[in-house]
């Protein structure tokens, strides 16, 4: 299999506060991987350093053999690495359909955007029902759908989802997870950040535990730990 994403020794942070202390992570073509771990330990920072929103201070990010460390976000999206943000409000005063059309912005996404729009609307029928509604008036779940829909409109070769079900009701969580599994079945390589390890195990071949800015543990699906062990990873031995 070809290596699609290869991150080595990645360090990044905000102003004088380092957050990532050397991350190593990889993903092969056709694979889905999961990231989990406590809040505030660098998961989102890692994603921002990969997508270009944050300039890494050291290390290397290679996408499809090409060095994209510190490249412009627009260039990274044009290469096919696309990220849907956490709890995203997108563009408050823009309509749903308008936003999806705009998201097919990079040159690779322009041809065949109508087909992709139909696919997104089939995946999220709620977005088709709310074509003209402004993004700021959408519910949390609908915003999340729009955010993922936008990322799909970019024609991703690798799609990164940052806690796509954060703060949603159990019913909506289920709906979104079903959609994410559907995206994975279509063969789009995925990196999914989630707190629910069981969901990640069902979806992906490998899991990374991100803790204190480092990969604390890598878990293959084949030797997956049971529920109790996962709880220990989160809370430590003394928790039970």
């Amino acid at each position: 299999m070809t290596r699609l994403l290869d991150i080595t020794g990645l360090r990044a942070g905000y102003a004088t506060v380092p957050v990532l202390h050397g991350i190593d992570l990889h993903l092969d073509a056709g694979e889905a991987i999961g990231l989990f771990g406590p809040n505030g330990h660098g998961k989102t920072t890692l994603l921002h350093a990969v997508s270009g929103l944050l300039k890494p201070t050291a290390g290397c990010v290679r996408f499809d053999g090409q060095d994209i460390t510190g490249a412009k976000p627009s260039a990274i999206v044009a290469a096919g690495l696309v990220q849907a943000q956490q709890g995203n409000t997108l563009f408050g005063d823009m309509g749903v359909q308008e936003t999806l059309e705009l998201a097919a912005f990079n040159t690779r996404a322009r041809s065949g955007w109508q087909t992709r729009l139909e696919e997104v609307q089939a995946l999220f029928p709620r977005l088709a029902e709310r074509k003209r509604q402004r993004a700021r008036t959408l519910s949390g779940g609908e915003r999340q759908m729009l955010s993922i829909g936008c990322a799909l409109m970019c024609n991703p070769r690798l799609l990164i989802l940052d806690e796509p079900t954060l703060g949603l009701s159990p019913r909506l969580k289920g709906e979104l997870r079903e959609a994410i599994a559907e995206i994975a079945r279509k063969g789009v390589p995925l990196i999914v950040v989630e707190q629910d390890v069981e969901f990640l195990l069902a979806l992906s071949s490998r899991l990374y535990l991100v803790e204190q800015g480092e990969i604390a543990r890598m878990i293959n699906r084949a030797d997956a730990p049971d529920h109790k062990e996962i709880m220990e990873m989160y809370f430590g031995e003394q928790a039970h």
Binding site: P73, M94, E98, F105, N106
Partner: protein, 289 residues
């Protein structure tokens, strides 16, 4: 009084049209970058002088003058963004810093213009000769053209920002630059685009104004304050609100000049602005959010 009311309204309409052209340029930059370009007036002036030089001194005609003037304004506008606004992106005080830097650009441009072109008054020829009658009042064809052109330009801008890819990208960047970057929009390039377009509007307004008034180094800076009143009065943001406010201010100014005279008009306009902001903090047409 009857005999002067109609011509006053017509001159108010003309003023409103000019304010609409100016204010839509200011508003374009404000909605995309969240800064005010205080050099907008100086760009108008630059455009008028370049147009005069090309059209009158070089004798290449008004059309070439128009093209050269607008082109010069666009180049200067993009340079202002690149040199005086871009270094301060992401700075917490970006808005205040850019007030200073664009004011500096305005002063430098104006002084440079007086140095190059000297103090003698100049005037651009009119785009159209002759007169037309508007509501029974005689208006020069050139002024009538401005009255027709302003809404046409606004409609074109509205279509551009609402329907085209690059126009929509301007709005997206203004509303959420981080998300815009993540769907592949080159944010710094979009900022340049906003400045370039706004400068083109400034250039167009400058050339049109230069054949109504004498071309002086203060040609654009003088009406700039009122154009800023228009943008704030309308409720910072939407193009429709800015356009509406432009005509309200234009008509109000013309009527105030008639009733009170030139001396007190600017003061009363400011008092009107303050009153509007007291009772409608989001502007006359702004949404309450």
């Amino acid at each position: 009084m009857d005999g002067v009311l109609i011509p006053t309204l017509v001159s108010g309409l003309l003023l409103g049209s000019l304010y609409a052209l100016m204010a839509s340029g200011l508003s374009l930059i404000w909605t995309t970058l969240g800064v005010f370009n205080f050099a907008h007036g100086a760009l108008m002036t630059l455009s008028a002088y370049i147009a005069w030089t090309v059209s009158e001194q070089f004798g290449l005609g008004l059309v070439m003058g128009f093209v050269a003037g607008v082109g010069a304004a666009v180049i200067a506008g993009v340079l202002i963004e690149l040199l005086l606004v871009r270094p301060f992106y992401g700075n917490r005080n970006m808005m205040l810093i850019t007030v200073m830097t664009t004011l500096a650009a305005s002063t430098i441009l104006e002084r440079g213009i007086s140095m190059i072109w000297g103090p003698r008054l100049k005037q651009l020829p009119r785009t159209l000769d002759g007169q037309v009658s508007l509501l029974g009042a005689p208006v020069s064809a050139h002024e009538a053209l401005i009255i027709v052109l302003a809404p046409a330009v606004l409609m074109a801008l509205w279509w551009y920002t609402g329907r085209t890819r690059s126009g929509r990208s301007l709005r997206a960047v203004g509303q959420n630059p981080g998300s815009a970057a993540l769907i592949g929009i080159d944010v710094p390039r979009t900022f340049s685009l906003a400045f370039g377009l706004s400068a083109a509007l400034a250039g167009l307004t400058g050339v049109l104004l230069g054949s109504i008034r004498f071309v002086t180094p203060g040609l654009g800076a003088d009406p700039l304050v009122n154009a800023m009143i228009v943008v704030i009065f309308g409720g910072l943001g939407s193009l429709g609100a800015t356009a509406g406010a432009a005509y309200v201010i234009g008509l109000l100014e013309a009527l105030l000049v008639l009733w009170l005279g030139l001396y007190w008009t600017p003061s009363v306009l400011f008092v009107a602005l303050i009153l509007v902001l007291v009772f409608r903090p989001n502007g006359l047409f702004g949404k309450a959010t």
